[in-house]
Each structure stands twice: as C-alpha cells, then as structure tokens.
Symmetry: C2
Subunit: 180 residues, 2 copies
C-alpha cells in the first residue's frame, strides 16, 4: 500500500489442486487489504495468474511471486516476522507492538495451510492468533491487515486500473477508468 | 455471541464439491468471530458436519442449519439484512448505522458464492463492500464481524468445550477443559 515499510504475505504449504482457491483468496485478500505483495510457496501458477489478472484490471501496485525456498524468505527477512496461528498470542494483546514495529521496518506475514513446520513458530517474532479458535487463514489475514493498517487500507488509491467499481446502494456498477 | 439481538450468517450459492472448503471457512469464521449461527443454502452436509465437530470440541453456542429456501429467510427476516458485496457501499461509511440497527434488532448477513441473484441486492437493507475490490467472501465476513462487534468478539467465552487452546508465544498447547 506504499506505506513507508512494505508488508509482504508469505503463503506456506500450498497443495496444488486442493488449495488453489484458498491460496487465490489469500492473495486477493492480501492485495485488497493493503499488503504490497504475496509470495506463494509451491506450484501455484494458477493462483498467481488469477491474482495478476485482477491486479491488471482493478489496479495495483501489487506483486505476486512463487518461491521454492520459503524458509530462506523467513530467515532472511530484514524486519518483523509475524506468523498467524490459532495457537499464538491474542491479536488484541500484541497488535499495538506490531504496529510500532511496522513504523520502523518491513513486516512479513506468514500464513499457513493445514500444517506449519515447528521451525516457523520459532523463527517468527510474533505468533499471533486472530482468536484461538480454528477458522480460516483468509479470515485471520483479513482481520490482521485491517488492524495493522487501522482501516486506512480501505481508502487506498489504485494505480493503472482499467476498471473500477462505483459503490452503489443497490446494484452493480463497473466503469472503465479514465486513461491518462 | 449472545448479544441482545442475534447475528445470523446466510451462505448463498453453495455448489457441492467445488465450494465445500469455502463454505466450511465461512461457517467457521462466523462461529469464531461472534455470529450466533450459519444457515447454508444447499447440499452442504459435509461443511455442516465439520462446523459442528469444531463446535463440539471448542465450544459454543453456535448453530448450523441447511436451508432449501434462502429467499424466504431473507424476505421473512425480522430485523436488518446486510448483503456483503464488492459493489456495495463502503463499510467505513455505513458500519456505524449498522451497529445502531443491531442494538435494536437481529441482523442477517448474506454472503454469496460466485453469482448472487439481483433480488438479494434489492431485498437487503444494506449492500456493503469491504473494499470495492474482488477478494474473498471469507475475508469480507471476517472484517465485517470484527467491525460490527468492535473487537468484543475476541473476548467471548465458550461454553461446553471439551478442549481449549492456551495462547503461547511459541508452540502449540491444547488442553482439555475442566468438566463442571
């Protein structure tokens, strides 16, 4: 979202086929709610393509990359590493510290699929639970980003969109954007 | 969440097979973030079972029902009907009015899959966009509930759980709850 320090989402444990839609939703949620990019561990070319299509149509900047070495992304991260997990500390107890960290350095948000290696728990600066209940990595990411940015992500401007939705009380309105 | 007036999530357009996981995530998100129940339109017995299993283990109250007549649920709703859609009015502009409505009456939150009949747009009291960007119905629902309850959902107590997660800085801890 072009805050001073970038926010990147790392999607772990993508299983081709089974996880395609969830991974696509993780990426689209990251984009819509203010992250600067998503890194997907594994063979997720379909999800990458869908997210890039949306970015091409509705704007960016937003970047999607695949990675075969997610551990290196975590260990090499120059900033704060957050791991979202139902086993972690309640978001309401740590969000303020995390916002302070983000004022000073980039933030990596790690989002797993079914099973996350224990290593990730140890390497994260914060293991954070959006509730300690089992629900959805997409929901957890959404609430986390909304709280990290304190709602400012909802007002962001999009660049290089070809289309935009015009909010309506009733109905659907999508318009081509003016070209520069 | 046993607020004075109930909050029910209605999941429309479930396509068996293709939507199983998304529908399960909608239901688990509804439960974890403070709704009282989820109604799923269509043949979603697998999702129902998964959500009920989680409720049996981690507590409730939370109710899951299938319905073949979602239109009747909407037209017969005695309270405020919210339809979450990327075409709707920005959440930040309407959330305060919706919170006021919820202080006076029950709220039904309608969450679609791919294509929602136009009828639903017309019958909803509010069409609400959690951004006007395409992302995920699970993400939209999560942010909507967190804002509706203003974070109080994160502190709710669970009844009749057999297990609970003990939040930890690092690691995973699930304990049996004390029996009464």
């Amino acid at each position: 979202m072009q805050t001073e320090h970038e926010v990147v989402v790392l999607r772990l444990g993508h299983r081709p086929g089974r996880d395609n839609r969830m991974t696509t939703h993780v990426g689209l949620t990251a984009r819509a709610l203010g992250a600067d990019s998503v890194l997907i561990a594994g063979a997720a070319s379909g999800s990458k393509e869908t997210i890039e299509d949306i970015t091409g149509r509705f704007g960016g900047p937003f970047d999607v990359e695949l990675t075969e070495t997610p551990e290196k992304v975590i260990t090499g991260w120059d900033g704060t590493v957050i791991h979202l997990t139902m086993y972690g500390l309640p978001i309401q107890d740590v969000e303020s510290k995390i916002r302070t960290a983000h004022r000073n350095e980039p933030v990596l948000i790690v989002v797993g699929a079914e099973k996350v290696p224990f290593d990730v728990y140890e390497k994260a600066d914060y293991n954070v639970g959006v509730t300690n209940q089992p629900h959805s990595e997409v929901a957890g990411l959404a609430v986390f980003l909304d709280r990290l940015f304190e709602g400012t992500e909802l007002d962001r401007e999009w660049e290089n969109a070809t289309h935009e939705v015009v909010p309506m009380e009733t109905g659907k309105k999508v318009e081509p954007t003016e070209t520069e």
